[in-house]
């Protein structure tokens, strides 16, 4: 029965409360640890090209993460965040999208960006905040973004991208709506995927974003990476009830939970989610479960809040699992894989050295992009600053030499 309160009035005469865990959502799993398809599962259709690209992206990101973790310890970059344990969740979801779908990420999704074609040098230039960084050296390392690749530049405040993704996706849909009937006239050509952690799902923006998407039917795929921790806070201190997935259901959004260490499960779920968003013009929520194997960032030490035993219990390598499947398909062999890894390691080191040598952005970049053109007070401040630096060039070595 439907009524003006928009709830089902299923009259009952027992005084009964529904438990927070009443909704238990299953987890889609397709690949076994050995790289076989579970007997009762159906593998998604994935081309050799896509499967290999997916694997190569994960392999690359693992090596990049390892090297940059090290580079941070050597003091060469100020900060880094790896995605150890979540490579499949991020890469396989990105692989299931169209290249022109919008990606609005949290910060641990460098693999999705690389899948899109962000080059090694582009990664390095951002991390070294040099003048070739697309973000002009303004944000901390890992705050990537690229208009060309439809990857919205990362913002540090958590959750802010969630309602934005709803709005962006709504924009993608509006042009497909028949002006007369108000109905969707065709499949939506591009949709939005929005990544966030289970921690960020506590922010007010999460609730606002999901509710708006559900009510206004925005074609957005909410991709919750439930990796068990928000910095030191374990999931059980973050939320009650059955994960983030149950929230999607609560908001009236089609929802699925997947094993985030299983590239094929994530690929299949995201492919289907995209189809729903694009053809039905409505949101979908995917909750991926993949333990965060590494530290939160280079600024923290997980030994302070979780035991080695706990970590050992979760040591599923999503990359190895997928690799085993690829080998069984005869699409990959160990020898080529080992050779490729060596070559990538060398490339990474060379790119790191290149980016380190590129100079920092010019002084003008301090005041550009605050507005479309600098307002008078900024121009005044810039001229004063320039004069000051000219008088004391030794104190401002990064910019002094280049001031005209």
């Amino acid at each position: 029965m439907s009524n003006p309160n928009n709830v089902s009035l299923n009259i009952n005469h027992d005084l009964e409360f529904i438990d927070g865990h009443a909704l238990t959502i299953p987890t889609l799993s397709i690949l076994t640890e050995e790289g076989d398809i579970h007997p009762s599962a159906t593998a998604p259709t994935i081309s050799k090209h896509t499967a290999l690209k997916l694997y190569e992206t994960m392999r690359f990101i693992r090596l990049l993460d390892e090297r940059m973790q090290g580079a941070q310890r050597q003091g060469r970059v100020s900060f880094y965040m790896q995605c150890l344990g979540e490579e499949a969740a991020v890469t396989a979801s990105a692989a299931a999208l169209d290249q022109n779908d919008m990606i609005m990420a949290q910060y641990r999704e460098q693999a999705a960006l690389h899948y899109r074609g962000f080059t090694l040098d582009q990664f390095m230039n951002q991390m070294f905040s040099n003048e070739l960084d697309l973000g002009k050296g303004r944000q901390m390392p890992i705050h990537y973004g690229s208009k060309e690749l439809n990857y919205m530049t990362i913002s540090s405040p958590l959750g802010t991208q969630i309602p934005q993704a709803t709005g962006y996706a709504y924009g993608q849909k509006v042009k497909h709506i028949d002006a007369k009937t108000g109905e969707l006239a065709s499949t939506i050509d591009n949709v939005t995927i929005c990544y966030f952690g289970e921690g960020a799902a506590s922010e007010g923006d999460f609730h606002a974003g999901l509710n708006m998407a559900a009510v206004h039917k925005a074609p957005v795929i909410f991709f919750a990476r439930n990796n068990g921790y928000a910095i030191s806070t374990p999931a059980e201190e973050q939320f009650k009830g059955d994960g983030i997935a149950s929230r999607g259901v609560g908001y009236g959004i089609k929802t699925i939970r997947v094993d985030g260490s299983d590239a094929l499960a994530v690929f299949a779920a995201t492919q289907k989610a995209r189809e729903i968003a694009a053809t039905q013009g409505e949101p979908v929520l995917i909750e991926s479960i993949a333990y965060r194997l590494g530290a939160h960032s280079t600024s923290d030490d997980p030994s302070g809040y979780r035991s080695k035993d706990e970590e050992a219990n979760h040591k599923v390598c999503p990359i190895d699992k997928f690799k085993k499947w690829l080998i069984k398909q005869d699409w990959l062999n160990e020898e080529d894989d080992a050779k490729a890894k060596e070559a990538i390691r060398e490339d990474i080191l060379a790119a790191l050295k290149r980016a380190e040598k590129v100079q920092k952005p010019a002084l003008e970049e301090l005041i550009s992009d605050v507005y479309d053109t600098p307002i008078p007070s900024l121009t005044r401040q810039y001229n004063d600053l320039k004069a000051h630096i000219k008088q004391h060039p030794d104190a401002y070595p990064i910019t002094a030499g280049r001031i005209k």
């Binding site: 002009k136 540090s156 405040p157 506590s202 007010g204 806070t233 809040y305 970049e365 301090l366 910019t399």
Partner: protein, 325 residues
């Protein structure tokens, strides 16, 4: 007395409070067992239990809404916002709720038991979202008190006073100095009166005014100035709201010159309020226009932080300009 850094001093003030009031609660993101990302609350969960020192879900809006309720109940609510940059999701709860609880209810209810601690400011290569100094946004809101300490001794005494104060207080902690600034701090309880500036160094030619981490910078400039024969009076404002007009006006009446320095962007920064008030109070005593050395009107940058920041050299240039006026 014991040698402490600022984190120890803050921890000590919290410890005393937890001992003093059986319902006092410390909460925020990662503050529980982990002790907060800067470790200001280290050891307190072990000491006072999980029901009084706890991690919250990741929701600043929730933290402040919860804190308002807890404080309205009458328990000391010691909320932490992990970085001042992330206080904005809680802006409504602070500006419309904490600040107006007492006024709108005719003092039927109030949240005087609320203290919000949050690390602010730059100098840690944190870029846009780990470096902001948002004190001026809150200084426009009647009903709040705003406090910024400059060293461990000040931090403990001012934090204890903030907690004891019967108004909601936002306590901005200069994160650059958390470990960098150390000094002798009494292990026992003490307070430093809110709303009072401190004359840190007496002088005759010009007054330098700052707060928090910027104090170190202006003290440096005062040394440079001294070498050039200029005698600076250096004042730490300590409380942004309410602020100590009298001490500043008295100093400027004596020296005839004032340089104000803060990290936040210059336009509508709190320095603007000070300049306007002191101009009115001291008009006939001023020998030169009041100068401000502040952040630029841009978001806080990363690569060009040195250029952006009001450093000692820029303060020195302002001192000279004022002296030569």
């Amino acid at each position: 007395m014991a040698k402490m850094n600022m984190l120890h001093a803050i921890n000590s003030a919290l410890d005393i409070t937890m001992n003093e009031h059986p319902q006092a609660c410390i909460f925020g993101e990662d503050v529980g067992y982990f002790g907060g990302v800067f470790r200001a609350t280290s050891g307190l969960q072990e000491k006072y239990g999980k029901h009084r020192v706890f991690n919250t879900p990741l929701t600043e809006q929730g933290i402040l809404g919860f804190a308002n309720g807890l404080a309205a109940f009458g328990a000391p609510a010691l909320a932490e916002i992990q970085f001042a940059d992330y206080i904005f999701p809680a802006f409504d709860q602070i500006v419309n709720e904490s600040a107006k609880f007492r006024y709108r209810s005719g003092n039927e209810f109030n949240v005087g038991n609320l203290t919000v601690r949050t690390p602010y400011g730059g100098g840690i290569a944190g870029g846009l979202y780990h470096s902001q100094s948002p004190e001026a946004y809150f200084a426009h809101t009647p009903g709040l008190k705003i406090v910024v300490p400059r060293n461990p001794y000040q931090a403990k005494g001012l934090l204890r006073a903030s907690i004891k104060d019967d108004n909601p207080v936002i306590f901005f902690e200069p994160k650059r100095l958390y470990r960098a600034s150390t000094g002798e701090v009494p292990e026992d309880d003490y307070t430093i009166e809110l709303g009072k500036a401190e004359v840190v160094q007496e002088g005759t030619d010009i007054t330098l005014l700052a707060w928090g981490a910027q104090m170190e910078i202006v003290e440096n400039s005062a040394k440079q100035a001294h070498e050039q024969g200029i005698s600076c009076e250096v004042i730490d404002l300590r409380s942004i709201l309410p602020w100590d007009v009298e001490t500043i006006a008295k100093s400027v009446t004596k020296t005839g010159r004032l340089v104000i320095s803060h990290e936040a962007p210059i336009t509508n920064g709190f320095g603007a309020e000070i300049a306007a008030t002191i101009q009115q109070e001291c008009f006939l005593h001023l020998e030169s226009p009041i100068m401000r050395v502040c952040g630029l009107d841009t978001p806080y940058p990363l690569a060009l932080e040195k250029e952006y920041v009001p450093d000692a050299l820029k303060v020195m240039a302002a001192i000279k300009q004022s002296m030569d006026f």
